[in-house]
Structure formats: C-alpha cells, structure tokens
C-alpha cells in the first residue's frame, strides 16, 4: 500500500472534509445547552404521559415573569415510567422552580420530578471560558512535549514540525465531531453540554496518542536509515565546531510510508477496541451518555483516519514544499543535506 504516494489525494479528501465541517458549523451552528447559556431544566417522568401541547400550555399559563422562551422535549420511557418531558426555561429561582415542578407533576399520572438543574448565566460563561482555555493549554503542552520528545530527529524536518502537525491533525479530529454535533443539534435537538466538552477533550488525548505512535515509528526508522558524519572545523575565534551531516539511505517519503504501514495494524486494532467499548456505552449506557459515546466514536474514527491518512502525508508534503526535498527518489552522496 502506498499511502504517501497518494498523498495529494488524501490531503485533498481531508481538505474537503474540513471545508464541509466548517460549512456545517458555520451554517447550522451549535445548540448551546444551559451549561453555557444559563437557564433551568426540569425533567419530569410519568406513568401515563400527558400530551406535549398540554405541557407547553401549562407552562405558558404559569404566572412567571419573562418566561418567553420555553422548550419542551419528550424523553424515552424506562422500565418504571412510560416517558416524560424535559422543560427548558430561563434560570428559575426557588419559588418559580416550585411552581413549575408542581404544575408539571400534577399533569398526567404518576408524575415525578426526576431532575432539576438551574445554572446562572455567570457560571455558564465561566464554563465556556474554561473550555476554551483548557483546549488551548492542552494544545500548547502537546506541541511542546512532541517538539522536545522528537528533538533528536532534526533532519530532514525540525522536531517543531512534528509538534505542529500533531496540532493540525488534532484540529481536524476535534472539528469533525463538533460538526457532527451541529448536525445532531439541527436534526435531533441535541444540546452542547459539559459532557460534550469532556468528549472533545478525550478526543484530544486520543488523537495525540494515535499520531505520536506513528511519528514514533518515523523517528525510529529515520535513525535506522541514516548515516552520520561528523566534521570538525575551527571557526574564526579558533573554537572547534562540530558539524554533523546526515545522509538518508532511503527516501524520506518511503521511510514515512513504511512507518505508517508498520503501525497500521496497531492503529486499526486500538481504535477497534476503543470503538467496541464505546459502542457498548452507546447502546447500553443509557440516555445520559448516549451523545457522549457517539461523539467520541466519531472522534476516534477521525483520529485514526488522520493519524494514517493525514498527519503523515502532511509531513512529507511539508518536507517537499518547504525544504524543497525530493522525497521519493533515493538520495545519493551529492544530495546529502546538512543540519
């Protein structure tokens, strides 16, 4: 399999996916939940479920000020209850909460308040700030770590490039599930909450791990297929300077391609086991973690794809464009580059 040979194709596919994702995100936007906007959620379960319009009318009929924006969503039944509703309103104070809960519970039969959450707008804004900071901080730490861990492989591309590409593919891996969330929000009314942020952050960790494993193999193979020549010369001040010249005995593109193929089975198997665990969580884990598991599955798929078909083609493309390196023809003695 020649993945690097088809790098233009894979990079184009990735570019298209990214453009579509951005278009979805910009076009549809994310539905922010009360975790971010502030507000109240009241969830009530019934043994005999009242009509949704009845619920809507009851809430609208309550004497609470500024209760303009009320959304009512039906929930699935379980072993003990036949179903229920989640009512989202602006943030309610204690007496308003009491009114809403009492009104809802008295509808239908066997009404029971199962969940109530209210979040002030300040806390919501703070959470949004925190999420942005956390993602930024993780990205920064990772690029630093990768650059340091790969500092031994300066040739033919600097170790910072490995760090940079890790971040670029990380953006891809986060963008795809976020776009999926926008679709879920548009079609199913799914709202972005803290669990979604957690899922995205988990995707970050997973994606980095995946990319690093392949880069680790590149690092190892580069050391295997290069010869080292140390020349000494005196500089103007008379201090002896050592200069190391590396010569690759195999083209860079081939080395990267080999590395990808050697780690291919591992990439597939690891994402497969993770997907199996997540599929179980999605199917049997209940409604609380359903979206979480789905978003993670999409993120894991995106991460596996990018570590094989995106990060490494990008690495070779960069080496060709920026370093003017002919990566596919064998390097002879004259073509030796210096560090």
């Amino acid at each position: 399999m020649n993945i690097i040979g088809h790098k233009t194709l894979f990079l184009s596919i990735t570019a298209i996916v990214v453009v579509i994702s951005v278009a979805i995100l910009v076009g549809l936007g994310l539905r922010l939940g009360i975790d971010f906007t502030g507000g109240s959620l009241t969830e009530v379960a019934y043994t005999e479920v009242p009509e949704q319009t009845e619920v809507q009318e009851t809430i609208n009929g309550l004497e609470i000020e500024n209760l303009n924006d009320v959304s009512v969503r039906a929930t699935a039944g379980t072993e003990t209850v036949t179903g229920g509703y989640i009512v989202r309103t602006r943030d309610l104070n204690e007496s308003e909460r009491q009114m809403v809960t009492d009104a809802l519970v008295s509808l239908g039969n066997g009404g029971e308040m199962v969940r109530f959450t209210t979040i002030g707008p300040v806390i919501g804004q703070e959470l949004a700030d925190k999420a942005v900071w956390a993602i930024g901080a993780i990205a920064l730490i990772i690029v630093l770590y990768v650059a340091i861990a790969f500092s031994g492989v300066g040739y033919p591309v600097s170790s910072w490039v490995y760090g940079g590409i890790t971040i670029v593919s990380l953006l891809h891996d986060v963008l795809v599930p976020t776009a999926a969330m926008a679709l879920l929000g548009w079609f199913m009314g799914a709202e972005v909450d803290v669990l979604f942020v957690t899922a995205i952050l988990a995707v970050l960790g997973y994606s980095v791990n995946d990319t690093i494993v392949v880069f680790d193999r590149v690092r190892e193979n580069l050391k295997k297929f290069r010869t080292e020549q140390v020349t000494e010369h005196k500089d103007v001040t008379g201090v002896i300077q050592k200069e190391t010249t590396y010569t690759l005995t195999k083209p860079f593109g081939e080395i990267v391609n080999d590395s990808v193929l050697q780690t291919f089975t591992r990439s597939i198997n690891t994402s497969l086991t993770t997907l199996l665990a997540l599929a179980a969580l999605y199917t049997f884990g209940g409604s609380t973690t359903e979206i979480f598991a789905l978003i993670l599955m999409i993120g894991v798929l995106a991460g596996t794809y990018s570590s094989i078909f995106f990060a490494n083609p990008l690495l070779v493309w960069y080496a060709e464009r920026v370093n003017k390196l002919d990566t596919m023809t064998p390097v002879n003695e004259e073509g030796a580059a210096t560090k």
Binding site: V194, T198, T273, A277, L281
Partner: protein
C-alpha cells in the same frame, strides 16, 4: 566481543530464562491480582464495607447547590479564611439537617475569568426536595452590629411620618424621603445606621440565659454573645468610643434590639435582651450558633437528580462496561491468540486495580467518570497491542518467541511512554481547569492512563515471559498460537 562480556551476557540470560524465576514472577503477579480482586469483591458485596464505592449525585440521586459569596465588603486577604468559616458553618447546619455524607466545598472561579468569584459547593446525597434544603441552608442569620446616629434617625422618622401623613402611600413617601434628606442634609447622608466592623464572623458562641428576676419583674430570657478575642477587642473599642449611643443588633438586615451603651464593655461578651419570649430566644441562640455566617451568600445554581434516574444510569453504566469488556476480550483472544489471553488477564488485573483505587482514594463515581473508565478500558489495550505488533514482526523474522517478547517491549516503550505521557498531561490540565463533572472524568482518565501503562509493562511482560518458548518455523500448534490475525499461520 571481549570474553568477560560474553560471560555476563550468558549469566544474565540464564537468570532471565530460569523457569523457576519466570513462573514464580508470573504466579506472584496473578496472586497479587487475585488479592486485589478479592478486596474489591468483599467491599462491593459487604453490607457495611470499610471502603464503600462513593457514588456521585448523578448516580445516587440528590441535590447540588452552588452558592456565591459576596466578598465586596471584606479585605481580599481575609477572604480565604472567611470562606473556610462559611464552609464550617454551613456544614454544621447541614449536619443538623441529618443528611448522610454531605459535601461542602469552597470553590474559586479559575483565573481565566475576569473576576474572582468565591463559591460554596454543597452536595446533599439522597435529598431530592431541594426546596427544603435551600430553606434550611438559606436561613441565613447574618449578624451585624450597627451604631445608631440618633440625629439622622430622628430626622428620618420625622420626615417619613410627615410625608406619610401628607401623601397617601407610605411606600412612595419613603422613596421621597431618601431623595430629600440626601439633598437637604449632606452631613448625615440619610442613613441613621452606621456599620461597625463587628459582625457574626467574630462570634464564638451564643447561649440562652435568663436575667435574674428583680422585685416584681419576672425573669427575662436573654441571649449571651461570646466573641472571640479579636471580636472582643473590637467590641470593647466600639463600646468605649460610643458611650451613651445606641448599638443596634441586626439579624439578616432586621433590627432585633438596640441597647444603649452604658460603659466600655471588655471581656468579649454582649447581651441581647427584650422583645422575645423563651422559645424565640432559644431559637435565636441556636440560629446564631449554627448560622452566624461571616459573608452573605446567594444561590446561583441548583441541580437535583431523582434517585430512580441515578440508579438507572448506574446499572446501565455497569452493563455497558461489562458488555464492552466482553467485546474487547473476544476480539483480543480471536486476533492475538495466546498473547490475547495474556492481554485479557492483564486487562482484568487493570480493571480490579482501578476499582480498588476508586475505593481507596476514594474516587467519587459519576456518569462522566464511568464513561471515562469505559473509554480507558479501550485505551488500556493500546499498550498491549503496540507490544504484540512489535513482537509479531520479530517473531516472523525468526526470533524465538520469548526473545521477541522481550525485544518487542523495549522497542514499543518509546511510543507507549510518549503516548501515555501526553494523555496524562491532558488529564492533569483537564483536572486543573475543569468543573466538578470534568474533574471526575479527568481523575478517572488520568489514573487509568497511569495504571494501564503499569499493567502493560509489568503484568503483560511478566506473563508473556512465563510462556513456553517456540519459533515461527517450528510450525506446531504452539507456534501458531503466537501469530495473530485471521490467517492460519
């Protein structure tokens, strides 16, 4: 190669390949795993275990309340200490309420937000009637001592009574009064009550007492206030400087008594008397004891989860975890054969170590934490897969199985180290920044990464090295077991 080196090489390889040592280590590992599993089992099934699983509110049902403290009136340097006092007071009040294992924590908005906000996080497991809980906690007797500016007070009373009689409604009249008095007399600025620095934060205790009956007057209930040394000094200072003035005692912004200061009072004890019967006095003393809040607080967020919903989430989470584990086990054994079996044993030991750590640390399990654990199951396999793939390469090249395992480990190590360390760094940042829900996930995820790295390196390696040795070209059933995949070889 020099002769002595060859000798050491043989010596170490003899020690390394000594079956007694190899099997002894493997047995010890398995035994250790069994002990940990037994510890988890006994604690999970016992009715009153020493180390119970701690379930978060979303799994056990209950209420979470977040209060924000108003710190605008106090010195920023004193805030941390005041918040701790506040926590203790609320904790005492909840304990009276009779909630089992409540959590009261001081939280600070992280440095990323523009303004530092101080919050109190209250978790009440099992309490689903949040109204009652809020009322109980919100019964905020904020005790304040204010000096009365008698001139301003008289002016105010005069004007308001005048305005009240002139216009129809008292409400409007008072509004006018504020405007007019601030306009006419700048000296008093209209507020007859001057704040002193003395508040309930300096109160050590309050107790019910009775004033001795004198002559025909029956015994009067009084409330004795004992200040701490700082409060005592302050009280002495205030009384000393304002002899002849009235000192008003405010509870939650309401004046409950306004005794005249007759002399400088030292010793740190004050008396509130008059205007209440014995029951009221006792309640006041109790409220002050349990609730002299050092800072005013405001409820900013509540969350209540019914017990049935929590129970459902928990049982579904456990089911999902077990099914996920079964799927991973099936895949690993089918694909990696004998190595897969080793991985499954290692994964099981990973699982019980994680559960034991949940019990011992203890980690409060939430839906997010449970999801983190299930995710970590999938990722814990990764280190094993990395090693097995390396092993397989060497094995196909003709390296004997045990040497392949040993070499496979050392070659896979750099990838395992870098991958896990970056994941660990992410987990630490998540924990640092996160809200309590994200923290639960990050903690489980971070511990999971560490433990999975340890089990891969210690358990998987020890067990693999204990296996009988074979070569790829020997072609027997044993040699086939060391291959992988769906092909027969």
């Amino acid at each position: 190669m020099a002769a002595p080196e060859t000798e050491t090489h043989i010596a170490t390889s003899e020690v390394r390949d000594n079956p007694v040592i190899r099997w002894g280590r493997a047995l010890a590992t398995l035994l250790l795993g069994a002990v940990v599993a037994f510890f988890v089992y006994t604690n999970a099934t016992a009715t009153n275990p020493d180390y119970p699983f701690k379930l978060g509110l979303d799994l056990a049902g209950g209420s979470q309340l977040i209060y924000e403290a108003d710190v605008s009136e106090v010195d920023p340097l004193e805030v941390p200490e005041l918040m701790n006092v506040l926590r203790d007071v609320i904790e005492r009040r909840i304990n009276v309420f009779g909630v089992s294992e409540p959590i009261v924590q001081v939280e600070q908005s992280s440095f990323v937000s523009d303004e530092v906000r101080h919050r109190l996080l209250v978790e009440l497991p099992g309490v689903t009637d949040v109204g009652e809980a809020v009322a109980e906690i919100g019964r905020t007797p904020l005790l304040e001592f204010k000096l009365i500016d008698s001139k301003a007070l008289m002016e105010q009373q005069l004007e308001s009574s005048f305005n009240a009689s002139a216009s129809g409604t008292v409400k409007v009249a008072i509004k006018d009064d504020v405007a007019s008095s601030s306009a006419t007399s700048t000296a008093t600025s209209g507020n007859p009550y001057l704040a002193t620095r003395l508040t309930g934060r300096y109160l050590e205790s309050a107790q019910l007492d009775f004033q001795r009956a004198q002559g025909g007057v029956p015994a009067q209930p009084i409330v004795l206030l004992n200040f701490n040394s700082e409060g005592g000094d302050l009280f002495e200072e205030i009384t000393g400087e304002n002899v002849g003035e009235q000192l008003a005692i405010f509870l939650d912004g309401e004046m409950i008594s306004s005794p005249r200061i007759n002399e400088r009072i030292s010793g740190g004890t004050a008396v509130i008397s008059g205007g209440f019967d014995t029951d009221e006095a006792r309640e006041l003393a109790q409220n002050l004891n349990f609730g002299a809040l050092p800072l005013p607080i405001e409820l900013v967020s509540t969350q209540t989860i019914g017990a049935s919903l929590g129970h459902e989430v928990l049982s579904q989470g456990i089911a999902a975890g077990l099914i996920g584990l079964a799927l991973i086990v099936a895949f690993m054994v089918l694909w990696y054969r004998v190595s897969g079996v080793v991985a499954v044993v290692a994964l099981s030991i990973y699982g019980v170590i994680m559960l034991a750590l949940f019990l011992l640390i203890p980690v409060t399990l939430t839906a997010a934490g449970l999801a983190g654990f299930i995710l970590s199951l999938g990722m814990a396999v990764d280190a094993n897969v990395l090693v097995f793939e390396r092993m397989k390469e060497l094995y196909r090249e003709g390296v004997r199985s045990r040497e392949a395992a040993r070499e496979g480990f050392s070659r896979a190590w750099s990838a395992i180290r870098d991958g896990n360390l970056t994941s660990l760094l992410s987990a630490i940042i998540l924990f640092w920044f996160g809200t309590s829900l994200v923290k639960g996930f990050a903690l489980v995820f971070g511990i999971g990464v560490l433990v999975s790295m340890l089990t891969a390196v210690l358990v998987t390696r020890t067990l693999l090295l204990a296996l009988p040795e074979t070569k790829a070209e020997s072609g027997g059933w044993l040699s086939r077991l060391f291959h992988s995949g769906i092909n027969k070889s």
